[in-house]
Structures are given as structure tokens and as C-alpha cells.
Symmetry: C2
Subunit: 129 residues, 2 copies
């Protein structure tokens, strides 16, 4: 689901038992190093906001982050809140499932609202919204 969009980036939610977001650049790049420096700086600013909001809201055991894009070579960043009782922990979400989890997490809609507020604040500061 498309959650957020500005002039340079958009953020999708990924269907999963855990909170999982995908940060995309609007302009496609194959590798992180192919992105202009200024855009990469902002990518990590946006990542910071996503990480911080995930930590504040869900109090996860650990944040996981990854950039693969092997099927479609277009840079995007996975940001995942991991919990010691989720189905794959301590493995990456792409690894072996180790249990049948039934996580009880706080209201996702509320998290999305809080995240959007923080992202809009940053984008307005950057003059991009």
C-alpha cells in the first residue's frame, strides 16, 4: 500500500506479521552509489524518521534494514521492526521460519498517522511538500 509520497521518495507498506516499510526513490537507480549524494543524504534522513517512529511506537527487539532488488534492479530500502517472538526471529525475514507466531501489536493505523506527521514535517522543512 502506498503510505507516503513527496517530490523525491515514496514509502510503501509490505503485507507481513511485522511492521515492514519500503522506501523507494521516485527516480530509479540500480545501486545506492548511483544516487546523487544529496538524494542519498535525504534517503538516510527519511530512514532515520522511519526507524525512530518504529522504535517509539512498537518498542521492537531490533530494527532490520536491507537493500537487495535482485529481481528488479531498482534501489529501495526495507525497514522492519523485529520482535523476539516473531515467526523468523532471530533470522532475517528472508531466512528460516522458526515458530508459528501470533504477534499482538498496537494499532497500525495509528502508527501510520504518526509516521506521516513526522515525514510531512521533514518534507516541509526541505520545501518538498
Amino acid at each position: 500500500m502506498l503510505l507516503y509520497e513527496d517530490a523525491e521518495f515514496y514509502i510503501q507498506t509490505q503485507e507481513s506479521e511485522i511492521p515492514w516499510l519500503l522506501i523507494f526513490t521516485k527516480e530509479p537507480y540500480k545501486e545506492l552509489g548511483d544516487m546523487p549524494k544529496e538524494l542519498r543524504k535525504r534517503l538516510w534522513d527519511i530512514y532515520d524518521i522511519v526507524e525512530q517512529e518504529l522504535k517509539d511506537f512498537y518498542k521492537p527487539t531490533k530494527i532490520n534494514m536491507a537493500s537487495f532488488a535482485n529481481m528488479l534492479p531498482r534501489v529501495h530500502i526495507h525497514v522492519m521492526a523485529r520482535f523476539k517472538e516473531d515467526s523468523y526471529f532471530p533470522n532475517p525475514m528472508w531466512g528460516e521460519k522458526v515458530r508459528e507466531a501470533s504477534l499482538v501489536l498496537p494499532d497500525e493505523d495509528l502508527f501510520h498517522k504518526r509516521l506521516l506527521l513526522a515525514l510531512h514535517r521533514e518534507a516541509r522543512k526541505e520545501g518538498l511538500l
Copy 2:
């Protein structure tokens, strides 16, 4: 194997069929967002060098990057050169193995020498070596 070290970071090689490096901060942090901004800026400068040298030397199909640290919650960045004929491609290296690969890659020692040259150049510029 410890490949590189300066006042702030060290880089280890990971035993694998593919070129795989791990960038660690000397000071331990649980999450990326816990690192001081300046140190994170340098982390991505170092990541850039590793990515660029991997691309120049191995001409990989794709670079993969990840930060998990679920077992030991201490930030470090995995950087992997992926090839369409490696054992897991297009899955992440933590995913399902899809073939028995026998990659023929150029001399790893030569890659390490080139990478060290580039890293030393950056660290001297930063006054950290």
C-alpha cells in the same frame, strides 16, 4: 578475517562463495539511529567505497546490503556482490538456495589490496589514519 581498521571502523570479510564484507563501528551501537550523525555520514562514505570497489572489480549483477544484528544487537552492515549464477540469486543470501553454483571469480587478494588502497586514501583525507 579482519581486513581493515581505523580509529572509528573496521571491516571483516565473511567466508562465502561471493565477495561479502562486514562494516563494523568500533564503538558499539544497537541501531543505526543510535550512531552520532557524523559517524553515520562516514559509515555511508565507507559503504560507498566498498560498493564502488566491488562494482569496479567484480562487475556483479547486483550489490546487496543489509543490517540485522538480531543475535548480537550491534550495528554492522553486510555488503555483498551478487551474481546471477550464484547459489541463491535472485534470493537474498539468507533465503532459499536455488542452485549448486561454482562461481569463478577474479583473485580476491587483488580485490582486497585495491579496496584497502581506496579506504586508506579516504581515512587519510579524514585524518583518521
